[in-house]
């Protein structure tokens, strides 16, 4: 019947009673009128009415939604069964909560990062375009999206018509200072082309976006993002039209971007026009790669045909700059993948790991349920004999596992709320273009998980336990030695699968961990202990002459060296392990000219002060370090790394020879020294590097200071910053960190995946262990009588111990074998994430095998030992 009646059954029942009451009264009155005595009239009326209770029951039934009623009854029953063994219930619910919580958290992140459309107009027709180098050495690790040169972008946009429009942006950094003595700060900025905002379909909250006429070198307009607008300008719209100072230069704020616009990253504070921050000639370069291009597809024009036009333009550029690093081709990239950068693969791997864990959790609950259903076998048989339908019995048992998963799922979702927040904040490489939060879709996913896990965990044992013939079940007693074969076979089968999945997880975790340890122990090439680092950038307005820059730097270095606790000070453009920085091509005047089509020699570009190498303890291999005399524009000296010397001066002494980088004017730089190699990023191979004297002056004014100290380097950070503020109170510093932290940051991703997968693997191992223990304990209970008889007949205790152990270890060994095979296949997927570790690393496989066997043995030992210590009298009486 309908739900309406279902919920007002009571009222309907009361009405019926009243109705029947009135019937009785009518009938009695009628009977009395016919001349019956009062007594007889009442009796006859009651006879006529019949069984009141039955009528009420009839109607009650009629008003009941029967399936719902049954489900409620089953739920009540299942809850009571679970409450009877709270220990079991607690373990099962905890297992499911952990599994579902972890899965939900990861799904939340996957959804936010990879699945949700970007908050732009028609995001599906947007595409990122990169340059693409064809030679094989660029395509080794399957990732070849090269950022674009400004001149290439301008050519693409002006010479092709396949796209509706193309926008461009690149990263920048400014010192933001106030007019009225507000604290200076270093802000992350983006220089974006004027057409980028209309292209993305983003409207400013206040003011306007850039005009085409404003997108030129030395432009002085800027836009604020919502975060800096709220934080520094107190959300006051009157900032629009006023000025802010970026690198000491006044910029007029023309607009404020909405809070939802956090592209390309939430840490961006200021936008300026694309051409604004750089010198005019910079826009003519075809070989300075740093820009990101976004294009909107034209309706009716396929991506392929639009791209082929761009590709043709790019190939022409390549032919015109044969020796320069100008790519031959272009390549498109999905905007979401582009934002997800390096986290897509780890995310997918973690998702796989969590699915494995969920599988293990379900199998474990299934395993525990099989044991319990075995105990209720007689009950099931009796009920079947009395006519209970198999479906009813299955439904009843399923309810138990669903209840477990429901409780586990609710706890898991709560758990995942905090876990997600932690993950999002701790995993620094996650793109934050969109907030990561739980939404309806995620909750639906969690509900789906609960149902699937509940079905998976409950269906197997329920079907198995009800399928037996009634007769056999009623006949069977635990006295029939060995227990019921199919039941134990099912449990062992489940256990084998569980252990196999655990082994796969363990192998994956082991490989990631080994690779991480490898990374961590990488030799950076310098002494990273007890070094404080910080960055600052001298603006070109106040420090318009190289003399002023040098004066500031040298005064600062002198003052810092004089501080107590400071051993040495280094100043350079970028420190070892702190990133790629940038590279440049050069020629060697002493060598014969290159054939056309040959790649120009290429090396990382660095600047260094005279004390840089000794302070960082980078060894000098040949020649000399810089001196204070290597200064101003005439100091054409360079120090090269040992890698550069090996690669470009094989079998020669490079000292005294010259390199000629076309990008820095028409000069030959004399090589004065060769220093040891340092790596620019942990996990990447070393690359040739060239160091120019910082005192010689250079367009790049971003500097990194490194201070080697006697004790804790962070303790000295405030005194160091005070020294800087004393020299220039308007100069902000950035990234105050130890060198170990700087290097550790690049390890974060690896450590993250390794730690989480390891946590999953250990949890799975514990679960598998509990499963193993449970199965063997259960087997022992079943075989109690048999064992008692064996002991009474004189079986050796060691013999029994061995018997039980073998019984328990068999699924473990089968599972291990399966898992090792599965692991060997699965690790191919993570091969590209491994550093210095082969996917089939024998050490990892050996350790996993050993660990699993040891743990399995321990889990089996307890019940096996108990079995061997049985008192035969007790065992035989127990039945």
């Amino acid at each position: 019947m309908s739900w309406f009646h279902f919920f007002r059954r009571r009222q309907s029942d009361a009405e019926l009673q009243q109705e029947m009451e009135s019937f009785l009264v009518e009938e009695i009155a009628e009977n009395t009128a016919r001349g019956m005595s009062a007594e007889e009239a009442r009796r006859q009326a009651r006879v006529k009415l019949g069984n009141v209770q039955k009528v009420r029951e009839n109607l009650w039934q009629q008003n009941t939604v029967s399936s719902f009623e049954k489900v409620c009854r089953d739920l009540k029953y299942a809850a009571r069964t679970l409450a009877r063994s709270p220990g079991f219930a607690l373990i099962a619910v905890t297992v499911m909560a952990l599994c579902i919580g972890a899965a939900t958290s990861l799904f939340t992140i996957v959804r936010s990062v990879l699945l949700r459309p970007l908050p732009f107009r028609d995001p599906s027709s947007l595409v990122a375009i990169y340059e693409h180098f064809r030679p094989a050495q660029f395509n080794q690790d399957g990732f070849n999206y090269n950022v674009v040169s400004p001149a290439d972008y301008y050519d693409w946009r002006n010479q092709t018509h396949g796209f509706q429009d193309m926008g461009v942006w690149h990263w920048w950094q400014f010192n933001l200072t106030g007019e009225r003595g507000e604290l200076p700060e270093v802000v992350t900025a983006v220089a974006g082309s004027w057409n980028l905002f209309p292209l993305l379909g983003v409207q400013p909250v206040f003011g306007r976006t850039f005009a085409e006429a404003e997108d030129h070198p030395a432009s002085d307009v800027a836009m604020l993002t919502w975060s800096v607008f709220q934080r520094r300008f107190a959300g006051n719209p009157s900032i629009v039209g006023r000025q802010i100072h970026l690198d000491g230069k006044p910029f007029t704020v023309v607009g404020v971007l909405p809070a939802s616009f956090t592209y390309p990253d939430a840490k961006v504070q200021v936008w300026v026009p694309y051409a604004a921050p750089t010198p005019p000639e910079w826009l003519q370069y075809h070989d300075h790669h740093q820009s990101h291009v976004i294009a909107r597809m034209k309706p009716g024009v396929s991506l392929e045909s639009a791209l082929s036009q761009v590709g043709a333009v790019q190939y022409r550029e390549h032919l015109q700059n044969l020796n320069a690093p100008v790519a031959e081709d272009v390549v498109p990239r999905n905007l979401i993948d582009d934002l997800a950068r390096d986290v897509k693969k780890p995310l997918i791997i973690l998702m796989c790991a969590v699915v494995c864990m969920l599988l293990i959790g379900s199998l474990n609950v299934a395993n525990l349920l099989v044991a319990r259903s075995a105990a209720r076998q007689k009950e099931v048989a009796v009920r079947t004999a009395l006519g209970a339908q198999r479906f009813t019995l299955i439904r009843e048992q399923m309810m138990e596992s669903l209840l477990i998963c429901l409780a586990g799922g609710s706890a898991g979702v709560l758990l995942s709320l905090s876990a997600t927040r932690w993950l999002a904040s701790a995993w620094k490489e996650l793109p934050s273009a969109q907030g990561i939060h739980v939404d309806g879709m995620v909750l639906a996913f969690a509900c789906g998980l609960v149902i699937v896990a509940g079905l998976a965990a409950g269906l197997l044992p329920a079907i198995a336990s009800t399928g037996n013939s009634v007769f056999a079940a009623l006949q069977a007693t635990s006295r029939t030695a060995g227990g019921s074969r199919p039941r134990t076979a099912l449990r062992k089968g489940l256990l084998t699968v569980e252990i196999a999945v655990t082994v796969v997880l363990l192998v994956g975790a082991g490989l990631l961990l080994k690779s991480f340890l490898r990374l961590q122990s990488t030799d950076v090439g310098c002494d990273t202990g007890k070094v404080l680092t910080l960055g600052y950038s001298l603006d070109s307005k106040k420090y318009d002459k190289q003399d002023k820059v040098n004066a500031f730097n040298e005064t600062l270095l002198d003052r810092l060296r004089a501080m107590p606790g400071v051993r040495a000070v280094a100043l350079g453009s970028i420190l070892p392990g702190a990133g790629y920085g940038g590279d440049d091509v050069f020629t060697i005047p002493e060598h014969p000219p290159l054939k056309p089509g040959d790649e120009l020699p290429d090396a990382l570009y660095r600047t260094a002060d005279p004390g840089y190498f000794s302070a960082l303890r980078i060894p000098l291999l040949m020649g000399r370090f810089f001196t204070a005399q290597d200064r101003d524009d005439r100091a054409l000296k360079v120090i090269v790394s040992s890698h550069l010397a090996r690669q470009y001066f094989p079998g020669e002494n490079p000292v005294g020879k010259h390199i000629h980088p076309p990008a820095y004017g028409n000069h030959d730089y004399e090589i004065v020294g060769v220093v040891g190699d340092t790596i620019y990023q942990v996990g990447k191979p070393t690359k040739a590097a060239m160091y120019f004297p910082i005192l010689a002056g250079d367009s790049d004014r971003g500097m990194t200071l490194a201070v080697r100290t006697d004790s804790d380097p962070l303790a000295i950070s405030i005194p160091v910053q005070k020294q800087i503020a004393a020299l220039d109170p308007e100069l902000p510093v950035s990234d105050v960190l130890t060198l170990e932290q700087v290097i550790g940051d690049s390890l974060l991703n690896a450590s993250f995946s390794a730690t989480i997968v390891l946590a999953f693997a250990v949890l799975s191992l514990v679960l598998a262990c509990v499963g193993l223990y449970g199965v063997l304990s259960y087997l022992m209970t079943l075989r109690m009588t048999e064992l008692g008889i064996r002991i009474a007949l004189g079986a050796q205790r060691e013999e029994l111990l061995r018997l039980m152990l073998v019984d328990g270890m068999r699924p473990a060994v089968f599972g291990l074998g399966l898992g090792l095979v599965g692991g060997a296949v699965a690790t191919r997927a993570i091969a590209s994430m491994l550093y210095g570790t082969k996917p089939l690393d024998p050490a990892v496989f050996t350790v996993v095998t050993g660990a699993l066997l040891l743990v399995a043995l321990l889990a089996c030992l307890a019940p096996a030992w108990r079995a061997s210590r049985l008192d035969p009298m007790q065992a035989l009486r127990a039945e």
Partner: protein, 121 residues
Amino acid sequence: MGKNGQGDAEMLKGTLDMMILRTLITGDAHGHTIAKVIERTSEDVLEVEQGSLYPALHRLEDRGWVSSYWGASENNRKAKFYRLTATGRKQLIRETTRWRQMTRAIGLVMGDKTQTEGGIG
């Protein structure tokens, strides 16, 4: 319901609903009256069991064929009255037609020369 017809519960269930609707065509009535009218008009061949009557009334109400209200009986006692609705009236016509066809068909099979209406053997 029928004194002699215990075996035909399935068929008779439908006929009870139909007869209740037929009774209500003359005006609103409460349960007791409905039972009495059916018994009297069938010359006491059919006896309405309360165990079937009340669930049937509630069922008819669910389907929207009758509506109910609390009122005072002839003897001025509180009673629940039932009233035939418009859809109930249509339903009655449908069921009556079907019943006529059925009895005629059964009659033919049983070799009755004369057509009977509403009689059960």
